[in-house]
């Protein structure tokens, strides 16, 4: 099972959960498309500027291979301090 996490604004519209990635969802682009198909609000939000995608606690850019062993986190724009 892959672990999906959502932070900030995105946590309002998607719940953290463990999922069994369907065949074909083998990279982060495919994961975004798969989640977007069920949630048009997420589909818009995930494409906004300032988000980050984190796989196994490391920031990734562009399509990145994923499997059921991974933790994948969607980060809305951060604001600490």
């Amino acid at each position: 099972m892959a672990k999906l996490l959502f932070f900030g604004r995105m946590s309002d519209i998607e719940a953290d959960r463990d999922v069994d990635l369907p065949q074909g969802v083998s990279d982060t682009d495919a994961l975004i498309d798969w989640l977007s198909a069920d949630n048009p609000v997420f589909a818009d939000m995930v494409r906004e500027k300032g988000n980050s995608l984190v796989v196994n606690q490391a920031i990734v850019r562009g399509a990145t291979p994923i499997s059921n062993a991974d933790e994948i986190a969607f980060l809305s724009p951060v604001s600490g301090g």
Binding site: L5, G8, R9, P77, V78, G80
Partner: protein, 157 residues
């Protein structure tokens, strides 16, 4: 010089002055301590702030702050750095963040504390949800936060 780095994410209220007193006791080589304390604001424009809820990404956030502190320790001659960041639900005037930097040199202490705050504001994995008049609003970085951070890149060349 090896810089002692102490990073704490606190689910419960912390006392920034007691933390600074403890920090100062650990020092043996520093004549200069610069510190920044951030507290929950009471107003946002004309609206009264009811609560601020801060969340983080456990593990990842600490790793990020640790990396930022190590970068600061390479850039300035520091004896010690302390970062305490609250998470959870807070009320106005409760402390959110404390950054303290100790050095033999005044400028190094000031610049390191300033640098860490800029990075915490714009880079560290924290999210803020402010409730005003019963409505929750996500707070995202402002253009000036990115501009503050950009100051440091200019002299990286």
């Amino acid at each position: 010089m090896t810089c002692a780095i102490d990073i704490q994410i606190s689910e419960t209220p912390f006392d920034p002055e007691a933390a600074q007193a403890g920090f100062r006791k650990t020092l043996s080589k520093s004549g200069a301590v610069a510190a920044f304390t951030g507290v929950v604001r009471g107003h946002a424009g004309n609206d009264q702030v009811e609560t601020l809820e801060l969340s983080h990404y456990p593990g990842f956030t600490e790793k990020q702050i640790s990396a930022i502190c190590k970068t600061a320790a390479e850039r300035w001659p520091l004896e010690a750095l302390l970062v305490i960041h609250r998470v959870g639900v807070m009320s106005p005037s409760e402390p959110i963040v404390l950054v303290a930097a100790a050095s033999a040199h005044r400028r190094a202490a000031f610049e390191a504390a300033d640098y860490l705050m800029d990075y915490l504001k714009s880079d560290a994995a924290f999210w803020k949800k402010e409730t005003r008049a019963g409505e929750a609003h996500w707070i995202e970085p402002r253009a000036e936060d990115y501009a503050d951070k950009a100051r440091w890149a200019q002299s990286d060349a």
